[in-house]
Subunit: 208 residues, 2 copies
């Protein structure tokens, strides 16, 4: 008696739809709520018009839901434009563009701020977000390798990568935003700082 199983177009379509609805409700709740502390699966479920148990069915846990929201935001956040940026002829222009893309990403949906808050209370979720950020680090590394003069030391390259990685992170964006800057103003400041971080890579006199 092997249980006969089947795939149901209508069923899985409906399931995908509720899934979308829950993700939408979750990101809205994150956006409108004043703190991640108030973000409960109860709230989300009610906002989506489903039961809390349905959320567990779809995402397994609070963490699963948060990851799904993060991925959804990333999908619609314009990060796909990075591919084009990376192929630009001038790697410095590419870096400028990269900063622009990430500033747009961090500012597009305020839910990303709340998701970064969630990293504080859930180490595994934090790890998942960090892994997703590693793509940014790899992008920066690739650009630095193109920008750096041949005689630039590995240490100087790593310094530049780590610094630019920090400068393009969400916390830096949030700090500059909190100082009362528009997205474009933040972008301008970060771009300038990143350009400055390149200086040690091009000067033929590496301090010694």
């Amino acid at each position: 008696m092997p249980p006969r199983s089947y795939v149901s177009p209508a069923r899985s379509a409906a399931a995908a739809e509720t899934r979308e609805r829950v993700i939408e409700a979750a990101s809205r709740t994150l956006r409108e709520g004043e703190s991640i502390a108030r973000f409960s699966l109860d709230t989300v479920a009610k906002a989506a018009g489903v039961t809390r148990l349905t959320v567990y069915n779809q995402f397994g846990s609070r963490r699963g839901l948060l990851e799904a929201v993060f991925d959804e935001i990333a999908r619609h956040g314009g990060l796909h434009q990075l591919a084009d940026a990376m192929t630009m002829d001038d790697p410095r222009a590419a870096l400028d563009r990269m900063v622009e893309i990430f500033c747009a990403f961090w500012s597009r949906d305020s839910a990303v701020g709340r998701l970064h808050d969630a990293m504080a209370t859930d180490p595994e979720f934090a790890e998942a977000v960090r892994e997703r950020n590693e793509r940014r680090r790899r992008g920066v590394t690739a650009l630095i390798d193109r920008i750096a003069a041949r005689q630039a030391s590995p240490q100087a390259r790593k310094d530049a990568v780590d610094l630019i990685f920090a400068l393009t992170s969400y916390p830096t964006f949030a700090s500059l935003s909190a100082a009362g800057r528009s997205r474009d103003e933040v972008c301008r400041v970060v771009q300038a700082a990143c350009r400055a971080a390149l200086q040690p890579l091009t000067l033929s006199n590496p301090s010694s």
Copy 2:
């Protein structure tokens, strides 16, 4: 029948001692615990050898305890050296020193990282920490005012202040540390970035 009240040296001394013991236990718990999520007043109370209710008596709430821990760490974190730094003749050297002092502060006690995590879940605690950070911003502002050339625009000054404020923040320190750097290596990178942030203030040609 006004209740006669009195101050009791032995009483308040004993109270102060338990208070210290609880703060010590709390910071130890923060230091050793792997996440702020696991930080409960139950744990702290047991570690301090008191009841959870005693913690409420002394600090009023979880937030009150966290603030007390933060202030205790700040008291022994070497921030008093900032006064000397600010009076240095060379404001650039003072800035270097300031970075040094804050790198030492952020790295001295790993509990500060957990306290920053706590900001994510408690908006009022976050506000309290932000207020304490404003002293750093004022220090940076004072130095920038001394460093900036007379013709430097207010905008350029604000850019430098906000950027250096972000560069000397805990999140930046944590990001650079996570990249596998020692405290001194982080300090060196941040100092270089801060010096670079001063460039636009001294060049007599402000881009136009």
